[in-house]
């Protein structure tokens, strides 16, 4: 990947890397990740495109948002990023949470998005499985017993460790942003997406299951779904060559 550069948007220093010339491609990473997770994809496309990878605010080398954000706030930042770097229109590749941001941007500012690639994207709230409701009840019990002295706190910590998702546990200062974001249902935006869209999903993705991809395929006007066999939620890391091949064909 390239040298790390910084740009200031809404008083936040945002780190990004850029290489190559040609049609701009912007890589948007997922929750808890950073630009460098895309290093294989970045290097592969820097020969043929002007490729950008940024650390979203709150991740990697970029500063943390001042309050709880959702995908629309992130989309606003990306839109300003376009303007500041004189990018009129770009292909977007968004993974997981980066997919959420891409959906908002593609639906609300279609003039900025050339082609859209959503990779194991988040954004759709699926029906909750029974285990979810069980965990929520446990978490509520945990909150009650936390108030019962030191022993209660110890038991509650134990429960929190068992029922909280690993992203939630690690979120720290970004926890409020995470809670706000996961409750944002982007399904109503799907029909508004005008860009030709490629959906790439890992066959074994359990974080954002294929059923999400199928809903997106049905509801985004011009979308095609590619499933990578044997890959999980980080399908572009599990099957990097197959991933890049699909992207290359789609962008050609």
């Amino acid at each position: 990947m390239g040298r790390v550069k910084f740009i200031e948007i809404e008083k936040l220093k945002i780190a990004y890397q850029v290489e190559g010339t040609g049609t701009p491609v912007i890589l948007l990473h997922g929750w808890g990740a950073e630009a460098n997770t895309f290093s294989y994809v970045f290097d592969r496309f820097s020969d043929t495109h002007q490729i950008y990878a940024l650390d979203l605010p709150g991740f990697g080398l970029s500063e943390i948002p001042p309050d709880a954000w959702d995908a629309s706030d992130y989309a606003r930042i990306i839109s300003i990023f376009f303007e500041k770097l004189n990018i009129d229109k770009a292909h977007l590749i968004g993974h997981s949470y980066g997919g959420r941001i891409s959906i908002v941007l593609a639906a609300e500012q279609p003039e900025k998005v050339d082609k859209l690639i959503l990779v194991d994207s988040a954004g759709i709230i699926l029906p909750r499985p029974m285990t979810y409701h069980f965990k929520i009840s446990l978490a509520k019990i945990g909150r009650l017993i936390r108030k019962c002295g030191a022993l209660g706190k110890r038991l509650a910590d134990n429960i929190a460790n068992r029922v909280g998702s690993s992203d939630y546990k690690k979120a720290g200062l970004m926890r409020a942003t995470m809670v706000k974001s996961v409750n944002q249902n982007l399904r109503p935006l799907l029909p508004k997406i005008q860009a030709t869209t490629l959906l790439i999903w890992g066959e074994n993705d359990i974080d954002t299951p294929i059923s999400s991809g199928k809903i997106m395929q049905d509801e985004i006007p011009n979308a095609e779904l590619v499933i990578l066999k044997g890959a999980g939620h980080f399908s572009f890391l599990d099957k990097p060559k197959e991933f890049c091949q699909s992207v290359e064909t789609f962008l050609a």
Binding site: R3, F6, A15
Partner: protein, 407 residues
């Protein structure tokens, strides 16, 4: 003797520390009982026999708090380490962890910077390596340069400033840098290890990005004059009051300067001369696996000069046990002290082997030095009988009566 090797830690050099610690453990096992204490990236202290096996770390995810006994520190009548069994039932019992000496094998912040040393001082446990002052000054590049400069040791020109100053007056700072140095310059966080957050800048635009990058890692930054066509020479120093210096090495760099990858990731395969016959390096050679020339191909008088500067630096910074001092040499032969590592990767054993000191000998020597240092410390006087408090009491009474008079 029970030696606790503490490693891992909340530092970007976590993985490197795991390699160093396992090298130390392997070298110590013959002569000592070794207890591994692994600090997770979240800062939880764990122990267990499996943590002494490198395979525990290389096969899949790093060990987590759920699978191992937790180590705690207790300050009761005698400060000590205790172990909480991993099955934390309501009736689980703590047990004492018998530690005679600690061997810190943590690189970087929260381990090499004096913080761990401070804890061990409070516990009065002997430990290997530099004390609080040596560790913290050695870790802080701005403090280190100020101290070396004050003592007449050669350093390259540098400009220190804070992140806060950068955010409020970046243009002024750029002007000062451009006035006092010429490109290329190096931008470094004051505190960081393994070149993380360090970058070279060849013009104003690169300088600004490099400073922003360094600001992500530390709130204090320094910009150093780069030495064009220069090269790096490292030398290790061991001892206490009359330290001795090792052979010099020249690291072979693949980029403009020694980055994190060069320091720790490259394997033995391309090493020109290193300790391939060492029983414990294998594939995870850590710092010992970086590419280097030993001895460095420099004239003998320069070697002697560097060894002298290394010993002086070691003493001035109040180091103990072992350290590796890194030098920069310009193409006209000027030598500058660049950095010191008070817990060097792989404890620089590859610099002592040419002098016939094996790694097991080296670590045993370090354990002995630690005990010697602790004994010396305990012979110092820490209490002094004084009637200060009774005097203060009398003065207070006087003051009170004085103020009553005034009323």
């Amino acid at each position: 003797m029970n030696v606790a090797v503490i490693f891992g830690g909340r530092s970007p050099e976590h993985e490197v520390s795991i390699v160093t610690a396992h090298q130390v453990k392997a070298a110590l096992t013959e002569s000592h009982d070794v207890t591994p204490i692994y600090i997770t990236k979240e800062g939880i202290w764990l122990t267990g026999d499996e943590l002494g096996e490198l395979s525990t770390f290389t096969d899949g995810a790093l060990p987590s708090a759920n699978d191992y006994d937790i180590v705690t520190v207790e300050f009761q009548a005698n400060p000590r380490f205790s172990v909480l069994p991993k099955r934390t039932g309501l009736f689980s019992k703590k047990r004492e962890l018998n530690v005679d000496i600690v061997f810190p094998a943590i690189h970087g912040v929260n381990g090499e910077d004096g913080s761990l040393q401070g804890l061990l001082e409070l516990m009065d446990v002997p430990y290997v390596g530099a004390g609080i002052v040596g560790s913290s000054i050695g870790m802080d590049k701005i403090m280190m340069k100020a101290v070396l400069n004050e003592n007449g040791l050669p350093i390259v020109p540098y400009i220190p400033f804070t992140k806060h100053e950068w955010n409020s007056s970046s243009d002024d700072i750029v002007s000062i840098i451009e006035e006092k140095t010429v490109y290329p310059v190096f931008v470094k966080p004051a505190i960081s290890g393994s070149s993380i957050g360090v970058s070279q800048a060849k013009n104003t635009e690169e300088l600004k990005d490099a400073i922003e990058l360094a600001c992500r890692y530390c709130r204090r930054i320094l910009v150093e004059q780069g030495i064009e066509n220069g090269y790096e020479i490292n030398c290790s120093v061991m001892g206490t009051h009359t330290p001795i210096a090792s052979v010099c090495e020249q690291p072979i760099t693949s980029t403009d300067f020694l980055s994190f990858d060069d320091k720790y990731i490259h394997q033995n395969s391309e090493t020109e001369q290193t300790s391939n016959d060492s029983p414990i390096t294998e594939n995870t050679s850590g710092m010992a696996g970086a590419q280097r020339k030993i001895p460095a191909p420099i004239p003998e008088d320069m070697t002697l000069h560097i060894q002298k500067l290394a010993s002086e630096t070691f003493k001035i910074l109040d180091c103990m046990g072992i350290a590796r001092i890194d030098f920069l040499v310009s193409d006209d032969g000027q030598v500058y002290v660049n950095e010191i590592n008070t817990i060097p990767g792989s404890f620089s054993f590859y610099l002592w082997e040419p002098d016939g000191v094996s790694f097991p000998d080296l670590v045993s020597q370090l354990v002995n030095l630690a005990i010697e240092t602790n004994n010396e410390k305990n012979r110092l006087i820490y209490s002094y009988s004084t009637n200060l408090l009774s005097q203060a009491g009398a003065n207070l009474t006087k003051l009170k009566s004085h103020s009553q008079l005034e009323e």
